[in-house]
C-alpha cells in the first residue's frame, strides 16, 4: 500500500538538519495492522507523519521516496500517489486518529460541526439532515448517543472524546487509518474498549491500520506486524508473534525483557544509558553504546535492516 524507500525526514535547526527518520525502508501492506513501537524521541511520530504526508511544522523530507497505491475494494479503482500529494487523500482514502483528544477537538465548537467539517464533499451530497442521520447511526455503533453531536468536547469524558476521534477517522471508510498513541492518558478499561473498536473497524473494512504506541503490550494484542524504532532507525520488523517470541535485535530483546508481568516475580532490569541525540548520532550502530553484545564492528559500520527469517528483518551485525 505504502512503500518507504531510504526515507530521511526531519527538522531544520539553525545549526543543522536533524533527521528523526533516517534511511528508513518499510512496506505497509493492504489489510493489516502494523505497529510502530519505540521510546520517546525515537522518531515514531515523525515516521507516522511522513506516512501521512503531513509536512507541516517544519518537517521536511531530505531524501528517499514514499509512494502509495490505494485500491478501492468496491470500484476496484487504484489511486497512486506520493507523500507530497497525500494531502489530497486526507479524510478520504486515508485518515488519522490523533493523540490527546482534549487538545485536538475545538473546545468552542459542537461535535457535529467538527465531524462535518472534517468530511469530504462526497459525504455531504445528500444534504445536512441526511448526513446528520448517517452520523447518528454511525456513532450509535460506537456506543455514542445522539446527544454527543450537540455537546461541546468538555462535556464528554476522555474515553468518549477519543471514541469520537476514532469515529471521525472511520466514517469515510478510508483504506488507511493512522493512529498515533490513540490511548495514552486513558485508563486501561477505556483503553481496551478503544483498541477493540480499532481492530474491529480494521477487520471489517479490510483496510490498513498503522498504530504507533510505546506500549509493547498494546502491540502484542493488536498488531499483525511490528516495527521497532530506535534513534531514527527501524531496527527490527516482522510478524508480531514472532518478534515477541524470537526477537532478533538486542534492543527489542532488552525492551521485552524489561517488562514486568503480573504472576512473574523474577528480577527485571532496564537498559543502562539513554538513546543518543538525533542531532549527533554515534557512528556505526546507534544502539551500540548501550548494547550488551556490542563488538568493535558495531561502532564502525551501521548494520543494514536485512531479512534474517521469512518476513522478519533486523538491523544487527550478528542476529
Amino acid at each position: 500500500m505504502i512503500e518507504l524507500k531510504n526515507v530521511r525526514a526531519g527538522y531544520g535547526t539553525p545549526d543543522a538538519f536533524v533527521a528523526a527518520v533516517d534511511d528508513v525502508t518499510l512496506t505497509v501492506n493492504d489489510n493489516e495492522i502494523l505497529g510502530i513501537a519505540g521510546e520517546s524521541g525515537c522518531g515514531k511520530s515523525t515516521l507516522m507523519r511522513t506516512l501521512y504526508g503531513d509536512f507541516s511544522g517544519g518537517l521536511k523530507m531530505a531524501g528517499g521516496k514514499v509512494t502509495g497505491r490505494f485500491t478501492d475494494p468496491e470500484t476496484g479503482r487504484t489511486t497512486e500517489s506520493d507523500a507530497a500529494r497525500f494531502q489530497d487523500l486526507w479524510w478520504d482514502v486515508m485518515s488519522y486518529v490523533p493523540q490527546g483528544s482534549m487538545s485536538v477537538l475545538n473546545p468552542i465548537m459542537k461535535i457535529e460541526k467538527q465531524i462535518v467539517d472534517a468530511l469530504p464533499k462526497r459525504e455531504k451530497k445528500g444534504g445536512k439532515a441526511e448526513l446528520r442521520q448517517r452520523i447518528i447511526e454511525f456513532l450509535a455503533g460506537f456506543g455514542l448517543p445522539e446527544t454527543v453531536l450537540d455537546s461541546y468536547p468538555h462535556q464528554l469524558s476522555g474515553g468518549m472524546r477519543q471514541r469520537v476521534l476514532v469515529a471521525i477517522a472511520a466514517f469515510v471508510r478510508p483504506r488507511l487509518i493512522l493512529a498515533d498513541e490513540p490511548t495514552t492518558a486513558l485508563d486501561v478499561v477505556v483503553q481496551k474498549r478503544i483498541l477493540l473498536m480499532l481492530v474491529e473497524i480494521q477487520r471489517r473494512l479490510k483496510n490498513t491500520l498503522v498504530l504507533v504506541s510505546h506500549d509493547l503490550g498494546v502491540h502484542y494484542q493488536m498488531t499483525d506486524r511490528i516495527a521497532i524504532a530506535y534513534a531514527g532507525k527501524i531496527v527490527e520488523v516482522g510478524p508480531t508473534a514472532e518478534v515477541f517470541e524470537n526477537p532478533r535485535h538486542p534492543y527489542t530483546e532488552a525492551l521485552i525483557g524489561a517488562l514486568p508481568r503480573v504472576g512473574q516475580k523474577g528480577e527485571r532490569v532496564g537498559l543502562e544509558g539513554r538513546p543518543p541525540s538525533l542531532a549527533s548520532p554515534p557512528d556505526g550502530c546507534r544502539f551500540a553504546p548501550r548494547c550488551p553484545q556490542a563488538q568493535a564492528i558495531c561502532r564502525q559500520a551501521s548494520p543494514p535492516l536485512a531479512e534474517k527469517a521469512p518476513n522478519h528483518a533486523s538491523a544487527c551485525h550478528f542476529r
Partner: protein, 333 residues
C-alpha cells in the same frame, strides 16, 4: 518510632464541592479509607484508575490537601488536628518526602539541579554547613547511581526523564526519611529505563530501611515491586492484600476487570482473538460482509463463547455495534 506503624490512616474522607454555589453537590474523592503500614520497611502500592481517589489520598498523606475527616498518623503521632503531639511542618518534611509524576515539572528550568539538593540539605538542617551539604548530596546521588560531579551546574534540559527521576529520588533521600510517597513515578519514564527506577526503590527499601507508598495505575510494576497492594475504586479500597494474592488470582470483580483490561504479553485478549478469527473465517468462505451488526461485539455472547470467563468481559456498554460498512456513499454517489 520503631514499634508504632510508619503510617496509620483511619476513616479518611475528602469531599470536594462541584457545581454552582447553590446547586452544587459534594463529591467524595476519598470515601472512608483506612490502612496501616507496619514498621517493617516495605513498598505499599495504591492502585486505581483516574478518578479513583488515589492521588487525593497521596496528597493528604503529603499534607498538601486537608482531609474533610479522619486521621493520619505517622509513627503513632497525628498529622492533622490540634493535638499537642502533632507533627509540625519542619519535622514532617524530614519524615516524609514526595516524588512526583513528571520529573520535567519537578525542577525549574532556571536553576542548576545540584542547588535543589543543597537547598534540601540546608533547609531541613540535615547539614550544618556547605561542606556537609556537599557530602550528604554526594551520598544521596551515589545511592541512585549518579554523582555530584555529573550534575553540578547542569540544568533540567541536559538530562533524560529517567535521570531526572533519579535526581528526584536522591533529593528525597537527603533528610533520611521514614516514608517516601511516590505518585506515578515511572509513568513518564521510557520503558527501557523504567525498571532501573523501580529496582532502585527496592534497593533503597532494603539498604536504607525507607518505606514507600507507591501510587500507580500500572498493575504490573505494582505486582513486581510491592509487599502490599490496595486497589481503589470511587474513593474506596475495594481489595487489599499481598500482590500474589489479589493480582495473580483476583477474587474481587473490579480487580478482575482491571486485570482483564491490561494489554499483556503472551496472552491475547479473547475478544481480539474472536474478532480476528471471525474475519479470517469470513475471508476463507469468501462470504460477503454480514448484515448490520453481524460481527461479535465486545461483551456479546459470541465473544464469551470464545473463551472469556464471565466477569472478564468489558464493563457493559449499551449496544457497541459497528454500523454497516457495506453500503457506501461512494457507491451511492
Amino acid at each position: 518510632m520503631s514499634e508504632k506503624p510508619v503510617l496509620e490512616i483511619a476513616g479518611l474522607h475528602k469531599n470536594y464541592r462541584a457545581g454552582g454555589l447553590f446547586s452544587g453537590k459534594q463529591i467524595a474523592a476519598v470515601d472512608g479509607v483506612s490502612l496501616t503500614l507496619d514498621p517493617k520497611p516495605q513498598v505499599f502500592s495504591i492502585v486505581g484508575e483516574s478518578g479513583s481517589g488515589k492521588t487525593t489520598l497521596a496528597r493528604m498523606i503529603l499534607r498538601l490537601v486537608e482531609p474533610t475527616s479522619g486521621t493520619i498518623r505517622l509513627g503513632g503521632r497525628p498529622l492533622t488536628g490540634k493535638d499537642r503531639d502533632r507533627i509540625d511542618d519542619f519535622e514532617f518534611r524530614r519524615l516524609v518526602q514526595p516524588i512526583f509524576q513528571n520529573p520535567f515539572e519537578a525542577f525549574s528550568a532556571y536553576l542548576p539541579l545540584d542547588s535543589y539538593l543543597f537547598a534540601t540539605a540546608r533547609n531541613l538542617k540535615v547539614a550544618g554547613n556547605d561542606r556537609d551539604a556537599a557530602e550528604i548530596t554526594e551520598g544521596a546521588l551515589r545511592s541512585v547511581g549518579l554523582s555530584l560531579e555529573r550534575i553540578r551546574g547542569k540544568y533540567i534540559r541536559q538530562f533524560s526523564g529517567g535521570e531526572l527521576q533519579r535526581i528526584s529520588i536522591a533529593r528525597a533521600l537527603i533528610p533520611n526519611p521514614k516514608l517516601i510517597v511516590a505518585d506515578e513515578p515511572v509513568s513518564m519514564v521510557d520503558a527501557s529505563l523504567r525498571m532501573n527506577i523501580v529496582n532502585l526503590f527496592k534497593t533503597i527499601k532494603e539498604e536504607k530501611g525507607v518505606s514507600f507508598v507507591y501510587i500507580t495505575h500500572d498493575l504490573s510494576t505494582a505486582y513486581y515491586l510491592s509487599d502490599s497492594v490496595v486497589i481503589m475504586n470511587k474513593g474506596r479500597i475495594v481489595d487489599a492484600g499481598a500482590p500474589q494474592e489479589i493480582l495473580a488470582n483476583p477474587r474481587e470483580d473490579y480487580t478482575r476487570e482491571l486485570m482483564a483490561a491490561i494489554p499483556r504479553l503472551g496472552e491475547r485478549w479473547p475478544e481480539i482473538e474472536a474478532i480476528k478469527a471471525e474475519a479470517t473465517e469470513r475471508a476463507r468462505r469468501a462470504a460477503p460482509w454480514p448484515e448490520r451488526g453481524g460481527l461479535p461485539t465486545p461483551g456479546s455472547k459470541s465473544v464469551k463463547k470464545a473463551g472469556a470467563p464471565s466477569g472478564e468481559s468489558l464493563a457493559p456498554e449499551p449496544d457497541v455495534r459497528l454500523p454497516d460498512c457495506t453500503t457506501s456513499s461512494r457507491r451511492n454517489a
